[in-house]
């Protein structure tokens, strides 16, 4: 039997008919680049992300307010998810293909400009810092706990429990971020991947083995969770920003 969720043999049509190689890096440039530009606008041009009981994921937890700072309040938090995503094994593939053309596609020649520079992969600064991905994961889990607190808070209105469109958006965002965080390759290593023998204690599958299998099955879709959670963070923040700007009111479902 193979590893959990090992790639099964794809259907022949699926295997043979590829999109042109530039589609994926072009999507990455547009989606990831667009998100980064939006994040810069959000972080450097706004100081609050709270609308009634909704808190934007860019501004949670409110670290700045703990220390009495009221300028660039998102900046104290956003570096954590930025580091987590920058060092993520999935995003490395995407940005090395999309932004650095190392390579832009499989068996696609790298640009001539690369030939005059020494390639060092992830051996030199700053890419060697990707080895610290697990530390970014620890910090991301702390932020995630606060996002779940915000999600619960999003269902508690002035007159008690209720559900608004914003509550649903924040809930979906928290679920997707949880899936992304706990399908991480570093977490997969932590829970059991670093062990060579899962049965050596008593001949039975260890708890680490069971976790490793489970995380491996989530990890198979890590790329999907990565994009879905990126768009959900974007959507949640944009929704709350538009509420703050008074563009529309939050529809209450009940």
């Amino acid at each position: 039997m193979a590893q959990p969720m090992q790639t099964t043999v794809p259907s022949r049509k699926k295997a043979e008919k590829h999109l042109p190689y530039w589609v994926e890096p072009a999507f990455t440039i547009v989606a990831l680049g667009g998100f980064v530009i939006y994040a810069i606008w959000e972080v450097f041009w706004h100081n609050t992300g709270t609308y009634q009981n909704y808190v934007s994921p860019f501004f949670s937890p409110g670290v700045a307010s703990w220390f009495g700072f009221h300028v660039l309040t998102a900046l104290y938090v956003v570096w954590v998810p930025f580091l987590f995503r920058f060092s993520c094994y999935y995003y490395r593939k995407e940005y090395f293909r999309g932004f650095f053309f190392h390579p832009a596609g499989c068996a696609v020649a790298e640009p001539n400009s690369h030939k005059t520079r020494v390639y060092t992969g992830e051996r030199r600064f700053p890419f060697n810092l990707n080895n610290l991905h697990r530390y970014a994961w620890y910090l991301a889990v702390i932020v995630l706990i606060f996002l779940w607190k915000d999600t619960v808070q999003a269902f508690i209105f002035k007159n008690g429990f209720g559900v608004g469109v914003g509550s649903i958006i924040l809930l979906i965002n928290a679920v997707l971020l949880t899936a992304y965080t706990f399908s991480c390759h570093a977490f997969r290593n932590m829970v059991g991947g670093r062990k060579d023998c899962f049965s050596c204690a008593n001949g039975k599958p260890s708890t680490g083995y069971k976790w490793w299998r489970r995380v491996s099955s989530w990890n198979h879709f890590h790329g999907g969770w990565a994009w879905a959670s990126l768009f959900s963070v974007w959507a949640a923040d944009l929704y709350i920003r538009l509420l703050i700007m008074g563009v529309f009111n939050d529809p209450r479902l009940f």
Partner: protein, 252 residues
């Protein structure tokens, strides 16, 4: 009259060469290797192509079809109807003649990989769920398509700095073996050049055995390197727990 397919096959050697067009009749279920054999039998008896099993098991017939590394024997021609099929040798390795590349560098690298080192006297028993993980790596047929597509070897020719994905799989196979006592992590971090890999996953995309090379071999090995070299907290914790760690020896 049966349908024809146009093959544009590289003819030449280390001194140079060019693609030459051949037309062969298309028959149902035909693979690229069949067509190359047709050309060899009827139009160009001196065409060089390496092959053995014609069943995607020996890994001999790796080449580049329309710019993508593939096995000639596993690539069906009905996927290319209406197109010219360009067939060239693997680009990462020196060419010998026509479609035959010199892959001997890989065998030199293979000699450097420390072999299995049993931690307990043989014969020993293992649980199936313990070996599931490494059995995926046993599917490798050493076609070297992953080595061919790896941009570290292909574009940067860093063969002196990186063993390549095939040998990351090989090292993972031994390193994750439940009864292996060797420690290949220092070699992975230095001589084998694991961190030359920037996880762009092309090796996984071209693997004809569908081994998840990056996710199941390279990234777990990178995490093991990080365990040993990039995790001060873990090092501190391990030092404090050092006396108990000896109990981790491999017992049945």
């Amino acid at each position: 009259m049966s349908e024809e397919i146009v093959l544009s096959i590289f003819r030449g050697d280390a001194a140079g060469g060019q693609e030459v067009e051949y037309r062969v009749p298309l028959t149902p279920g035909m693979v690229v290797l069949d067509a190359v054999h047709q050309v060899q039998a009827h139009q160009a008896q001196d065409l060089a192509v390496r092959w053995n099993c014609k069943a995607a098991h020996c890994g001999s017939c790796g080449a580049e079809i329309n710019g993508r590394p593939k096995l000639l024997c596993k690539t069906r021609l009905d996927d290319y109807v209406g197109e010219t099929v360009h067939i060239r040798p693997m680009q990462t390795f020196p060419i010998i003649k026509d479609l035959v590349a010199d892959v001997s560098w890989n065998y030199e690298v293979a000699k450097k990989v420390p072999a299995f080192q049993p931690a307990v006297p043989v014969p020993f028993q293992m649980q199936q769920f313990d070996v599931d993980r490494i059995q995926e790596f046993h599917h490798c047929i050493e076609c070297f398509l992953c080595q061919d597509v790896c941009h570290v070897l292909r574009d940067h020719n860093a063969k002196d700095q990186y063993f390549g994905p095939r040998f990351m799989v090989k090292m993972a196979e031994f390193e994750m073996h439940p009864r292996d006592g060797g420690d290949r992590v220092p070699m992975l971090a230095h001589e084998a050049g694991l961190n030359m890999c920037n996880v762009t996953k092309c090796c996984t995309e071209v693997c004809p055995q569908h081994i998840r090379i990056t996710d199941n071999a390279i990234i777990p090995l990178k995490e093991r390197v990080a365990d040993q070299y990039w995790d001060p907290l873990r090092a501190l914790f391990k030092k404090k727990k050092a006396p108990a760690a000896t109990e981790q020896s491999v017992q049945g």
